[in-house]
Symmetry: C2
Subunit: 422 residues, 2 copies
Amino acid sequence: MGQKPITFLRQVTALCLCPELLDEPSIPQDAKGRARRLLAACAGQSAGAYSASPGIELVRQDVARFLQRRDGVPAKPQDIFLSTGASDAIVSILKLLVSGEGGSRTGVLIPIPQYPLYSAAIAELSAVQLNYYLDEEHCWALDVAELRRALAEGRQHCCPRVLCIINPGNPTGQVQSRQCIEDVIKFAFEEKLFLMADEVYQDNIYAEGSAFHSFKKVLFEMGPPYSEVVELASFHSVSKGFMGECGFRSGYVEVVNMDPDVQQQLAKLVSVRLCPPVPGQILLDTVVDPPQPGDPSYELFIAEKKAVLSALAHKARLTQEIFNQVPGIRCNPVQGAMYSFPRIELPPRALDAAKAQGQAPDMFFCMKLLEETGICVVPGSGFGQREGTFHFRMTILPPTEKLQVLLEKLSSFYTKFVKEYS
Amino acid sequence: MGQKPITFLRQVTALCLCPELLDEPSIPQDAKGRARRLLAACAGQSAGAYSASPGIELVRQDVARFLQRRDGVPAKPQDIFLSTGASDAIVSILKLLVSGEGGSRTGVLIPIPQYPLYSAAIAELSAVQLNYYLDEEHCWALDVAELRRALAEGRQHCCPRVLCIINPGNPTGQVQSRQCIEDVIKFAFEEKLFLMADEVYQDNIYAEGSAFHSFKKVLFEMGPPYSEVVELASFHSVSKGFMGECGFRSGYVEVVNMDPDVQQQLAKLVSVRLCPPVPGQILLDTVVDPPQPGDPSYELFIAEKKAVLSALAHKARLTQEIFNQVPGIRCNPVQGAMYSFPRIELPPRALDAAKAQGQAPDMFFCMKLLEETGICVVPGSGFGQREGTFHFRMTILPPTEKLQVLLEKLSSFYTKFVKEYS
Ligand SMILES: Cc1ncc(COP(=O)(O)O)c(C=O)c1O
Ligand SMILES: Cc1ncc(COP(=O)(O)O)c(C=O)c1O
């Protein structure tokens, strides 16, 4: 994702691929010890063998310990299924929940704007996409009244069974408050909805006053009946956070309160594709069980991690500041995740010009931007947005100096564009 | 898969994960050069970034060159889609071919015995599985008359559109003759079937007189109209062959004569899950573009490759010889792939005992074998077999001495079992 890799993660993984490097003096002892421990847990002591379908048992145990530390709530390796990126786990859970036969089709509530994996998977599975709109006027907050509206509407033509949440949000960058999460859990409880919590950006929190609250932690803090009844699947990934290791395609889902028969079907479902990539499983282990104070790799690890996260926080602020100086652009604070999703006013003549070309107005803007400046951003229509509003998504990942230039170029282009079409 | 990894493959991949090791003097120059070339082709020069959805362009080019060398027929990078193991590509192609809406359901012809990914994927997609039986009396050969029978039967209740071939076969270990492949292609042409050729065992050919003929090569040698019309998808993987790198989950499909609109849908379909794991893509590149004579890694590479393949050939013969000495066991020659699939006679009292336990007879045998000897083999019923026949599948992967002991133990257990239930 354009960020510098964290040395320890890569060292351990490379050692597991090439154990002859265990003699290499330049690699720290703790990385070597970790590689030996992981190799011993691989089938045939090799990263080249298929693992068990839900993942290497040791890695599942390490994930469980990580979750227990994070939430202060017990976590069991049996409830953790490693996956080929969070994408794979999200699609598997959707498949599992949707595939039930029967009269009416399964409805899945998703936020708008959303990460397009959801709409694509819902379409592939012939389920029904039920949109609930995030509240742009309140920093893209999730409003339970809006959830209720979307559910009621959905009930008229399908059987809504699943509620998807993305927190922190992609593309919208909001971080949900603890109160809001509680409200959503109560709602899911009352309406008997299965909660899918996409928490892949859990380490990417920048705004003062924002904090990451996992759905599982809040659920257990709420106690019975919620903690015993509400079914939850929470997703994580090595693609985001401080590590940004998208290419490894590694993640996991933890299921909570899942019906045991359904969970067994899940185990069967994932076994068809054999197992997640082993190098990614190894890398995931280093993420959930990082070097500790006193370990040879600790200082460098912490320094690298801090550098990545503080640069991201800085770039999140920078983005918001620059955009909000431009009349016609309004950018909510980038509280978390890796994107800004500013709203842009487009003059009527630009709408006409877009129509003439058969393009959505924000697509028209983005194409012009690309043609004239080489800057590539994604039109809001790719994520969904309220009718008549226009946005684009831009990542905060480029190096600070480069990002600053991009933001300024984009802003002047916008101003010029508006003038041209006014 | 229990075989020793090939040094060059692992070195290049590890270097790409940990470029700081490029200074390491113990790693040969050609591996370093290769790693630099591949890293330069990665997004952001990093194995940690998502690649393009169909795979790194350079790797697709290298696969195309490999296919061109193999077949003597042009191959285009645009027709190659890298995947998360062959499994992923097989499921994607099935999804693409089945998903067409319309009146009657899509029928997919698969061999029996089959690799269970096919039946599972067909069930998931709500397509119709149409069985054609391989001819055990003739070394598990594919007989076009049997294909014709299965197709005619299928036409009575669904719309057969796809014909799957596994060559060399899993679990059956046969290698198809060139003539047979020609006959199958003619049949697909006449009946307008899409051919899916699972050729993941193409490097695993052991029997004298057997050779691997790719469907694509035969198709093009047949010339028009076949070469211009018959739609084909061929699958390969790093999991088998001399490399056996299952854990990396890397493979590809090449599509031939695919309708351009359908191919565009395929591109869209694979983009939903972002991309195949990058470490696996890198490893695949080293497989399709191995060290050449004169390269520092060449001698070791060839020696390692030969050692793996000749050991497998030896174990294939050994398996067949030992099993065929046992009255009641009949094992076809293991011409290719990595398994034997011997047929076992089971006495009537064993069938009764199995029935009493609610188990398939060969499952009953395999469970008893496991309990008494610790040897784990898979009952034939997991792959499908002709009614009233019983088999099990055993891999030839364990080291020779260990395999010999396993074969002998299994044989004596079988003899004892038969005596006990007679
Ligand atoms: C909200 C969200 N969920 C899931 C994913 C998929 O992540 P992975 O790379 O782990 O499949 C992404 C990737 O951008 C994302 O933004
Ligand atoms: C015939 C056949 N096809 C496909 C596969 C899947 O291979 P991969 O590991 O590349 O997904 C296997 C694995 O055993 C196989 O035997």
